[in-house]
Symmetry: C3
Subunit: 340 residues, 3 copies
């Protein structure tokens, strides 16, 4: 079990400790289920009342509520940010880092460059002309295609595919099963059949990007598909060919972005939302989960389009009426004429 | 080709045979496309009329309709359940079981425990401290992370990922491409960027759970993500961090469950339904396919929220009116005032 | 860098060249971003005005607009089709073909047949009784189960799973992470639990089929799941057991087709559309992206069912009214009675 003293934590991450620097904690946990060995945090003022009752050994708080805690506290301007950095510090202390070097069962083709500091895991494949930069980790059973680039400090979890010629910047994290650089979906119709358009572009990913498990980012048809710095993509997301996603935009699970859509920077796209192809979304747009975006959005703001849930019997009645809604409006118009 | 006599089947699975125990069948098949060598079943009374016309060699029926068949019958109280068990018996007879032992091309790290009865397939990886219990099968090219546990009799199809420290109970089945234990999607916003919250929890899966192809179950942020006994998940499902799914709940393909949602036991969630984060669904709730659940559901029942399909021209008119629906209601209210 | 002369291109692909056959191009690209070394095309008459201003070295055009270009042109009846074939020709010139033979790190079980012309990549697995036909490519880290068939000239990208007994025809392309032949999702309910129905069918795929990254096609319960010739499936699509998809139908990303649905030929299914189980879709049906199809569609045509997007405040008001829509209709009916 990992243990840390409050003194060590404050020395590493800052914050103002009220309490004994020698006090030990062995886990980070939520206020409600905390015990004496837990370091907890209060980020949402809604849970402020829990400060008086929690069993936590120490709580990370904002300075103005420090007085309400019965426990040790670490005061900091942004407790949630402090918590995030604490998890990073904790993970570095507790996780075994990937060993530098190439595992003997990995296949590294001739002409691939693997930096001596980098790690290539068991049964991984690195194709000719690929480059794995300093501190990068290619997890077990990953596939790095010919000519691909895995930037400095980027970590591929096990069983990631990075296709031929695709490039990831520095400090990216890619979860298992993600596929970067599958073919875009492009065909020319011809006499009732589909003629394949070979996808000659690649995928270009910036720095500090995270890509979720089994998420797919297709290579471009002619130019590249582009994911800018700091983008965060959850699991099972589909990014079609020639999409461009602006910096620091975040998308929740099961989102789909159709071909050639351009998404702005600092957007958030809720889970399972879908964005049609060839349209533009401005910066700072927030799309609710489950919404379908069929036109460009030029103004920042919050957009939604979801059928409200109901008990099935009520839904059936309302849905039946919805199919006659236009006619209903006409009936209202006729009534308005009649009543003058 | 596999063949079985009706006598062997009844000896193994019970039921009351009317017909010749020496009669052979070589396949199990639907009534409509059955021939003399087919063992078929009648589970849905709607298809009762097919009993008189089917060419099947034998039909599994409930006792009360036995008289209507012109063929041999096996009578049993629940023909569909009998059919399910028959498929299991058939599969055991026809499929080559995985060979016990570790394939020479697999990588098993030091400190991993593989039970002598268990099977680890070609090119699979089992990390340090992991445990593969008796009768478990780790398919070819699977990844079992450090400290993970694969319970007794659990079968991983080829190319499954079970991340570090994640645990599966007994008799689970995991389909190809599933990812158990990718990082949950957690970030603290900071000056327009996202600071990663390392996901320190794991995934804990009960007994008799089935997990579909390319389905993702994320590890918890601090505590574990939990899937209780008997849960069945279809393909391409997203289960976010710290979700809890109650026992014997089943979810169809493409469902998404957002973070920290708690789903009750014995629920069914239709395909592509989405459940928002941090909410609670009671036991015995049934959500229709394609519905979006944005609030907790406290009462058992059947819930729906789907836009009804229409020909595109009708949809366009109704959708345009829908965007003015609130105004339409106000117009109706004004008319009501006017007409007293 | 690859270069080709216009003369070489016309010799290979036909079309009528106006310009210097010795002129070189080094890339194919869109009109708007073209330079002197770019071969571009004009497929959509909407962009006709760009012909006068483009910097492209040569443009593929239809004969009637040839006169408007200031550059070299290749005239052809269907410029988009010509472009598609050009990308294929270009890819053949620029990509290193997979080496024939079995990579030394691949595992080919006894009794598997790999044609001497075929290629089996690094760390791939080919099970007993499987057959890899002439010119087929099994990518690195792929899994071809026992008894499976990979038809002539079919290419599996890295890390594809083709399950036991599943068959692909000739000239198919399968993108990374696709899973063909996972178990269908079938269970018999029994005393609050689910009894597994073993899936005894397989998947049968025709010729010239393309299957996207991380897409799943489940094996049938008793009979096979069938994908006919020329079908094109994008990424992250779920095809459940016993579905049949008619020839030359195309489906965009994130689509889900529930069990035993029969889809006609020459259909297009927009992204994230969902089709319920046990229903029939006629030939030449077009379903809009994001739509949910809950009943059979017997007539060709274009069908839609999507909640229109709005700013969140407007959506909230309209959605609230929608939940009372049936009552609103009754109020209109009462008004109509009143006003005679």
């Amino acid at each position: 079990m990992t243990a840390a003293t409050l003194g060590e934590i404050v020395a590493a991450l800052g914050g103002e400790l009220t309490g004994d620097p020698q006090q030990c904690v062995t886990r980070i946990g939520p206020l409600a289920s905390a015990d004496r060995s837990t370091l907890s945090f209060l980020a949402n003022p809604r849970y402020r009342a829990q400060l008086a009752s929690t069993q936590a050994g120490c709580v990370i708080v904002s300075p103005e509520v420090r007085g309400e805690a019965r426990t040790a506290t670490i005061a900091t301007a942004d407790p949630y940010l402090y918590f995030a950095r604490l998890t990073q510090w904790w993970a570095r202390r507790t996780r075994v880092p990937a060993a530098a070097g190439v595992h003997p069962t990995a296949v590294v083709e001739e002409g691939a460059q693997v930096h001596p500091d980098a790690s290539v895991g068991a049964l991984a494949f690195v194709g000719r002309g690929a480059r794995v930069e300093a501190g990068a980790v290619v997890g077990a059973q990953c596939h790095v295609g010919a000519g691909a680039v895995i930037g400095e400090g980027t970590r591929l979890a096990p069983r990631v595919v990075v296709g031929e010629g695709c490039r990831l910047g520095a400090r990216c994290i890619v979860q298992p099963g993600a596929v970067i650089g599958g073919d875009g979906f492009g065909f020319a119709p011809h006499e009732g059949r589909w003629e394949k358009i070979e996808q000659l572009g690649a995928v270009r990913i910036g720095d500090d990007v995270e890509i979720g498990a089994n998420t797919c980012i297709d290579r471009g048809a002619l130019d590249d598909t582009v994911i800018e710095d700091g983008v965060k993509l959850d699991n099972l997301i589909q990014i079609a060919h020639n999409v461009r996603i602006g910096a620091h935009t975040a998308m929740a699970g099961c989102v789909g972005i159709a071909g050639s859509a351009t998404i702005g920077a600092h957007c958030t796209i809720g889970g399972a939302a879908m964005i049609a192809g060839h349209l533009e979304i401005a910066d700072h747009v927030h799309v609710s989960a489950g919404s379908f975006v069929s036109r460009s959005i030029r103004q920042p703001g919050h957009y939604t389009g979801v059928f409200p849930l109901d008990d099935n019997a009520s839904w059936e009645k309302n849905a039946a009426t919805l199919r006659q809604l236009h006619r209903l409006r006409e009936r209202v118009r006729e009534l308005e004429k009649k009543t003058g």
